[in-house]
Amino acid sequence: MNSEEFVQRLFSDYYRSHQPAPNSLEKREFGFGGFEKKIEARHAWFKSQEALSKFLIVNTPFYLSYSAAYYEFPDARPMPKKNWLGADLIFDLDAPAHECGKFTCQICLEKIKAETLKLIENFLIPDFGFAKPDFAINFSGNRGYHLHIRHQSILELSREERRELVDYITGTGIEFASFFRTDENNRIYGPLPTDGGYYGKLARETISQLQDGKGEIVQILGKKFEKPPNAQKLIDGIRLGNWDAVRIIDKEKKFNEILKTLTIKLSDQVDANVTADTSKLIRVPNSLHGGSGLCAIDVKKGISDFNPLSDAVVLPATEVKVEISEPVPKIEMKNQTFGPYGKDAQITVPAYFAAYLICKRAAAIG
């Protein structure tokens, strides 16, 4: 049995007892990929949950993706013949490049988790008025999270409209001039804490950090504001819309910088396109990821306590012998520390960790 077959057999066994059950499955287009390529084929359609489950057990793809869109004829082609009926709103958050490379480290995983939480708690809930039941969060299976919003109100948004939402959360097109006005004494009047959008965010976050006497914003404003009397004076001013209660040097530049700290950083434009592209295929929630052997599992218990390298590990712990083909750093998985391993090392590890290394192209069945 070669490494590829080994992983495929693990996946197949897993799918016997755990079937991803996408909502409105019969209205979605499916795509699958093999060991080498994430999407080798698309335009597939499953008429029922049974058909999908059977396919996963028998044909076992390494990657399973589906359309965010709902179609009348999901398997028709070219695309316009599918007859687009609407699409979930998807946000794809991926950890940016880091020295950990393909073995995504805890620091990166924590960072992207914080960014996902920020998107939910600072944008989706307060600004867009979504409630927790309106969206599903799942681990992407590798280095980030996917947010699926299925609320009726957004299903028919066009691409341009979705693009505008992405531009909003990333702060694209923010005009400093519309946030502040300068009176004849060169005094700056700006947003109130009660304002909506970035206006209120700016005022509230600045006040909160000034109260703590620390944080990115206080750093930008300058040392002077680590002193409570100065901070308090500025806080009192901001509450009335007066952003000039204490003298700030280079204020325009600083306020611009502060605005930037409030936005969501999607790792690059590719992910902005995930949201805007209404016919994009994305990982099916609760399917296995062929690049990690981890599960794109639903984050049900609350994302703050979620740890992918433990909660998304679903393959069995049976011991397997593998040979390391490239250096592997120390990795903690399911509360157990593995490695570091040098090239050519022969190790016996649980199947889930063996699959992880094989999927990362760092080991082969020994």
């Binding site: 084929a41 869109a69 600004d127 409209e161 693009r163 304002d195 909506g196 959008g197 970035y198």
Partner: protein, 346 residues
């Protein structure tokens, strides 16, 4: 039924039922009045307000709207329909600014715009806002006050949004059959199509970046380009050596084209010699469509940046809002590979 209201806003359901109740038939006279209404709208881009308020005159106003749209439906030409819708929306908008709050609310209900009053401002659910805002820089979501899913707008902005919604409503023709007898009169409206030879780009456009090509395509399809898009397109074309006259010709395809305004704007741009916005700025305007890595549209060279542009080409193929994109070259390749493998295994 308030007939005056129906005549002012002939696209409402109230107007439709008033027309049915009146028993007016789509006879030759009615069609002729529709033809006249469409002709004024298409040739001038505007429609006058109602002159008389006699009951019978009001009913025939509504009838002329209905028959104008029937003629447009017979042609099913995107340019003519859009241009007509712009004129109707402007006409309605002229009433809106002096309209009673009660009537405005009635209209909003009709247009499915759920404005909520909030002090001197209004709040609108964001999907409706995204759909019907005029898409100029002032309306970008990043600079709006939004909270709990509601976007705050001023009374004036509320009316602008209503105008956009009316334009969309008038421009959406019903899916209905038109009697063949209507065709000869309808065909006469084709006269108002822009003259094709003026609207073709004569310059070598192979080095136009994807964003510019996309705008040209959308213009050719008589889509209403947002103001920033028109502005950048004109700046780009002027820089690439196109004459103001030729650029004005291009804009003739815009459904809300007005020669005077366009000429003034293009000549103003030429005189001012504005610099082309960078790709970053283009992106912030929401009109960048490909990651071609050229830094500024004027630096784009097909040979050098074409393959990066290709990789993000899906965004270029914009059709109707919400129309799914075409496959990326990568997908096409994957499909081919998959099909090859399949045919081999059979």
């Amino acid at each position: 039924m308030d007939l005056l209201f129906a005549a002012k806003y002939p696209f409402t359901t109230g107007a439709r039922s008033a027309l049915l109740e009146s028993g007016i038939s789509m006879d030759e006279d009615t069609l002729q009045s529709g033809y006249e209404r469409a002709t004024v709208a298409l040739s001038t881009g505007k429609l006058p307000k109602i002159a008389a308020e006699l009951q019978s005159a009001l009913v025939s106003q509504i009838a002329s709207y209905a028959s104008a749209r029937m003629l447009l439906l017979a042609l099913n030409n995107r340019y003519l329909t859009n241009r007509y819708a712009v004129a109707e929306a402007k006409r309605a908008s002229a009433y809106l600014s002096g309209e009673s709050e009660q009537n405005l609310e009635l209209l909003c209900q009709e247009l499915a715009l759920r404005f909520e009053k909030n002090g001197r401002q209004y709040l609108l659910p964001f999907p409706e806002y995204l759909r019907f805002n005029p898409h100029s820089v002032d309306y970008r979501l990043s600079n709006r006050k939004i909270s709990g899913g509601l976007v705050q707008v001023s009374p004036h902005e509320r009316i602008r949004i209503m105008e956009e919604a009316i334009k969309a409503r008038v421009g959406k023709l019903p899916d209905a059959k038109v009697p063949a007898s209507v065709q000869p009169l309808a065909k006469k409206l084709l006269l108002h199509l822009p003259r094709e030879e003026l609207a073709t780009v004569k310059l070598d456009s192979s080095n136009y970046p994807p964003c510019i090509q996309n705008m040209l395509v959308r213009l050719r399809m008589s889509e209403n380009l947002p103001h920033t898009a028109r502005w950048t397109l004109a700046v780009y074309l002027l820089r690439s050596g196109m004459k103001p006259e030729e650029i004005i010709g291009l804009f003739k395809n815009a459904p809300d084209y007005s020669e005077g305004t366009t000429r003034y704007q293009v000549e103003y741009l030429k005189q001012k010699g504005y610099a082309m916005p960078s790709c970053v700025t283009m992106d912030s305007y929401g009109i960048c469509v490909a990651r071609c890595r050229c830094a500024s549209p004027v630096h784009y060279r097909k040979e050098k940046h074409g393959r990066f542009a290709e990789a993000t080409r899906t965004d270029l193929q914009k059709g109707e809002p919400g129309t799914p994109s075409q496959e990326t070259p990568e997908q096409t390749l994957a499909k081919k590979k998959w099909e090859d493998a399949k045919s081999r295994s059979q």
